[in-house]
């Protein structure tokens, strides 16, 4: 069983980001299907995403997908190469460092309009 530590945090975050991305996917399918109703309907729908308050949410979506993908790779490494379990903590922190290094520029690029850039 899990005894806390990074493994448990990683597992909880994997579930939370997974559910969040699935819920977004449902919304994304509905919103994209508006294209079948023509330019007016589609551009109106996209206008919701275009509002400034949605920028951080859009960033959270990308951050959630990136986390889920990164942690998923880590899970597969542990699954298919069990010896790596010994280095789990090191792999986790290396992945976390890579994630932070990636997410900062992504956040800046995606939310630059919020800072007036």
């Amino acid at each position: 069983m899990y005894r806390g530590g990074p493994g448990m945090l990683a597992w909880a975050l994997h579930r939370i980001t997974g559910v969040a991305v699935l819920l977004f996917l449902f919304m994304h399918i509905i919103e994209t299907s508006m294209i079948g109703f023509g330019p007016k309907a589609y551009n109106f729908t996209l206008g919701i995403y275009r509002q400034l308050w949605f920028k951080p949410i859009e960033f959270l979506l990308v951050a959630a997908v990136l986390y889920h993908a990164g942690n998923g790779i880590l899970v597969m490494i542990l699954d298919f190469w069990p010896a790596s379990t010994r280095y789990y903590r090191r792999l986790f922190w290396a992945g976390a460092a890579l994630y932070v290094a990636l997410i900062i520029p992504v956040g800046f690029i995606m939310m630059r309009r919020l800072f007036g850039l």
Partner: protein, 128 residues
Amino acid sequence: MIRAPSVRPAGGLPLYLWFFMRVSAILMFGLVLGHLYIMHIINSTDTIDFQFVAERFTTPFWRAYDLFILFFALSHGLIGMRGILDDYVRSRPWRAFAEGLLWTAGAVFFLLGALILMTFQPGAFRGP
């Protein structure tokens, strides 16, 4: 000592689903990262509009790309959600009900997405 975050099921359907989660993850990994890069980094909700999507869908390549992601992301998400329901909904009848609801919703979303991707005709909205 921390154990691996997942335990491989012994066999049967759970083992197939376990493999499917990993195979679908690998198959869509590059496509999803590409999708995020193109739609949220190079472009954004500020530049995406009807015209953008209409031009994108003039080639079957992007329709196939999106259809591929739609299928694998949706099935991966639904199977993941099924695992969560299995963990938290302990009563058998309620679990069957929740799963039935999940697969029904999944089928509706897949059909809606696939229908739009395969039948959308940008030309139908061009003025006379």
